[in-house]
Symmetry: C2
Subunit: 600 residues, 2 copies
């Protein structure tokens, strides 16, 4: 057996910020070196950020990633970390280098060469070995066949007498490939670098997967994941180390940047490895096992420190943390400092407000009450109370005069507004007023629309619920909005603090208050029912017959499915927001707008 | 040799309208039968429409497509077309049937089974043979690895003594696969069914490709393509038949629904084919050649009619027709009848107006002048003149009172608007007013923004140029907007009609008129220069160094690339519009919003 102290950097990369990401890796390497680690791993594409989308197809970006990797290797060496093998995810060119030229093709065509989602081991100022992801995900939010060429090499690096095999993200999620080759290689540790986006329940599935793959690979498994937000995606970290039997040795927190240190007793590799040697061996599944030594030092005994297993939190706490992280990183990484949104006294904007305050601090959060003649007193009171509870900024901007000006002008034109057109006007005047405030002051506008509303189109396109740069609760169904609000208040009580959300905002029947005594329930079914059907149709992709079979009223199902289908055009123009469910609207669910298909 | 009269239905399918698409196919079959055709082909996915996107992943939809195919086979037989083999593109399940269940997976995962983009030969009331697309495109606007399993069978159907091989779309664009197997099968005709989206210059490439593939396959090649619009895509038709040497025998029009009839003298197949027999033969590239006879009738001589070769039109006429078709089908297929948009007197809204009038008739087109205190008299005159020239509706809705109401309310709040915030407010008040009109009257709102403006973010998000359901000239660069306007006027003159667009709208320096004497050139480089850089960066995906190497001013290039990168968030919320270029914003070019990468 040999002792190995490994370090996993659960870091937060920013897409395109090669210098900033490299600097973070340097800091983690210094910390790992200081802590006596023998090996450091950072996440998949940690150097470029993930996902880089079509930047992967731009030759200049691929070259910049390669150059940044070489610079990083030299910088690590210069900083005294040269003897620490550092496994770094980056973007590499594939078999044929992606040249800056040639000029554009006459018509759309597949790219002439494809880059690779690669892992390099940096050692003594250079790249010791590099390889590319074998299994490419191409479902859900992933489009990796669009970008990457698949790799076929399993690198096995001898570190202090232990053979460490390296795999990348999806390589663990699909059968065969690197895990099978790793077993065949007789590695002592399988190291997996990841950029695995958060979804509710994914942590449970992930842990079970690691246990299963460790047993298949026949060795311990170290898994390092990214944290932080990138547009719709948020990475939850949840880095883990399991032993060869699947026993949990260490587990990092979720949504936290941290360096995980674990001492492992691992089987020593047989035979000597000559420095500088590279040996290839074919695996029976067609991959190539490529062995290279990172160091010839023998393992020495040292006092091992126990791995830390961070306890899992409640599902609601987890979702809430995802929403806070997603918003915080959108604001921060896009250079904003403050946010603004309409504060109606209702539950959606209340939840948006507390998430915002937790993400960037109440002093950077601006809530604006935009009352119309239909706004109830209690709504205005609830909004003001929320602001007092949280310490966020609060202003009142009555929309009456602006609405009147439109009504008069349109009536003069011979088009007096009635019914829904009148209601929608109020909603859009709020949006326009918020955009004006944002323009004048440089706030990022937030759209507080929820998933249920977005699903059935129960929102006005370009209103204060739909406009802005980011939509924090876009993937949160209405029943979960209430749950999270209750959880956030209870959590405050646990900490001995004032619950931030007024009970009335949680308890009162939801209403857009666009006409006297309007209630959501005037035109929508009960949200409990709606969200169940939504879950089956959107997240489960069930057809109408299958949904009705579960006992729902056929007429209701038909109506809701029709509403969902017809609202696709609104969803296309909705701002991005944090994905928390198995299927978020946006890149996760891609349907045509022009679509005559009707279930049933 | 044997004579074969083939019919190609260049038809316009609607996504999801299985019954309507089947009815169109029945009509074409009756017409083909009437005309004495021996074989009819309709486009790829003609039964379901294309692209169906994530509908392909819904089991209920796959089952509905299969059921509609079986119904169509019976209906054709019942209508006396049973003896006419009809090649129909549809959606089939793959190796494992796509069941409606099971309920949603715990986390995102690849679908358990994948459907196929298939071609069936309907004959005597049933499906004689079916096969699936071999090469799946997964670049540009295509995501077919997300959806489909690849097929590996080349069907060869004996029709009146001629062996007809069938391929689907991308099968022709990539080397090897069905074309190679077709050569090996010694087929007399290669029939290719397509849903190939329009791009400028694609018709030239397509013709050259067909010549090349016919020679490779060693036989004549018949190519049938879809026409019509589907969200961002428009299919141009351009169906063709070439002989084994690549000589053009027939060519259909672009953007026209038509039935192409061609008489071919083709090599008779060797050996007899027993009715009902199916024989498989391995091709050397791993595909299976599957032979089946559709009929045992011998070819009989008949007076052949010459194929019609529709002449190609000028590039500008072609793009213009694409824009008209894209808009017309978006309006029609989504159940709208009328459109509305702001008519500023400028060139973008003028071009949008004439496209709209040509697409759906001037009586269904509503232009609204929304003058502010900065609007010049000539702008209002130009807008009115355009309306008179075209016969469209025209209204004037001054925005002054509405803008004042906002300014006063915001000043009262202590946030008086200045500079860009003041300019943007005017622009958004126009948007809100148009949405109100649309709500009241049921018009579809159009966004007249052009590609250059959308590229550099020279537009106000949610203003009258950016809101609405469809953006007809979204993929048209500003210099091409002018070219098309000039072409449209010249075309009117050629027909002896009044040129619709006032010369002043074309000639005057472009301006948003949001402050006194404002000109686009105050803040943007000359559009000629801008569009050249845009073309290299967006369509050509060139890095900054490569663009500067061509002789552009480095500071200018850096500035424009920065503007383009920073405007990504605006593009995400822009309505869909017709793709005409090799790379349109939207599904064609997918970049992160959160993106620190800077070229150079």
């Amino acid at each position: 057996m040999a002792q190995l102290r490994i370090a996993l950097a659960q870091m937060n990369s920013t897409v395109g910020d090669l210098a900033g990401n490299a600097e973070s890796i340097r800091r983690y390497a210094a910390e790992a070196r200081q802590a006596g680690a023998h090996l450091l791993a950072v996440p998949e594409m940690a150097l470029t950020g993930y996902p880089v989308e079509d930047l992967a197809l731009r030759g200049s970006f691929v070259q910049a990633s390669r150059a940044a990797l070489a610079d990083l290797a030299r910088a690590l060496d210069a900083a005294g970390c040269g003897d620490l093998p550092v496994v770094v995810g980056y973007l590499d060119h594939g078999s044929a280098p992606a040249e800056p030229g040639p000029p554009k093709a006459a018509v759309s065509a597949p790219p002439k060469s494809r880059p690779q989602d690669a892992a390099a081991v940096l050692f003594r100022g250079g790249v010791l070995i590099s390889s590319a992801k074998h299994h490419l995900p191409n479902y859900g939010v992933f489009d990796e066949y669009r970008y990457f060429a698949s790799g076929n090499v399993l690198p096995v690096v001898r570190v202090r007498g232990v053979d460490v095999a390296i795999a990348i993200c999806e390589d663990l999620w699909q059968d065969g490939g690197p895990v099978a080759a790793c077993a065949e290689a007789g590695a002592g540790l399988l190291l997996s670098i990841n950029a695995s986006p958060y979804e509710l329940n994914k942590d449970d599935v992930r842990y079970a997967l690691l246990q299963c793959r460790a047993r298949e690979a026949g060795c311990a498994l170290a898994y390092v994941n990214m944290v932080g937000g990138q547009d719709e995606l948020v990475f939850d970290g949840d880095s883990m180390v399991v032993d060869a039997d699947g026993g949990l040795l260490a587990r990092a927190g979720q949504f936290t940047e941290e360096l995980v240190l674990v001492d492992l007793d691992l089987p020593a590799a047989a035979g000597a490895a000559e420095p500088g040697s590279v040996t290839d061996q074919p695996a029976s599944n067609g991959m190539t096992i490529r062995r290279v030594p990172a160091t010839v030092e023998a393992a020495e005994p040292y006092p091992a420190v126990p791995g830390v297993i961070t306890p899992r939190v409640d599902d609601r706490a987890e979702v809430y943390a995802a929403l806070v992280t997603g918003l915080r990183d959108y604001v921060r990484k896009n250079g904003f400092r403050t946010v603004v949104f309409g504060l109606s006294g209702g539950i959606d904007s209340a939840l948006t407000a507390v998430i915002s305050c937790d993400a960037i601090g109440p002093d950077n959060v601006y809530g604006v009450s935009l009352p119309s003649r239909y706004s109830s007193e209690h709504s205005k009171d609830d909004a003001a109370q929320l602001a007092r509870n949280t310490g966020m900024h609060y202003e009142v901007l009555p929309i009456g005069n602006m609405v009147e000006a439109y009504l008069k002008t349109l009536a003069d034109l011979g088009a007096p507004l009635t019914g829904v057109a009148d209601e929608n006007l109020q909603a859009r005047v709020r949006g326009t007023a918020l955009m004006a405030l944002s323009n004048q002051r440089g706030h990022l506008v937030l759209a507080p629309g929820n998933k249920s509303e977005l699903a059935v189109g129960y929102s006005t396109i370009y209103d204060a619920g739909s406009i802005g740069g980011y939509a924090p609760i876009k993937d949160v169904a209405k029943t979960l909005v209430w749950e999270l609000a209750r959880w956030r208040n209870a959590h405050a009580l646990e900490l001995g603090l004032t619950p931030p959300i007024p009970v009335n905002s949680i308890e009162k029947p939801p209403s857009a208050e666009l006409r006297p005594d309007q209630k959501d329930s005037d035109s929508l079914p009960d949200y409990e029912l709606l969200d169940q059907i939504l879950d089956l149709y959107v997240e489960g992709d069930q057809g109408m017959a299958a949904i009705i079979e579960r006992g729902f009223d056929p007429a209701l199902v038909r109506r809701i499915l029709g509403l969902i289908d017809r609202a696709e055009y609104k969803r296309r123009q909705f701002p991005p927001g944090t994905k928390i469910s198995v299927k978020a609207f946006g890149r996760d669910r891609r349907l045509p707008i022009t679509n005559r298909w009707q279930e049933g």
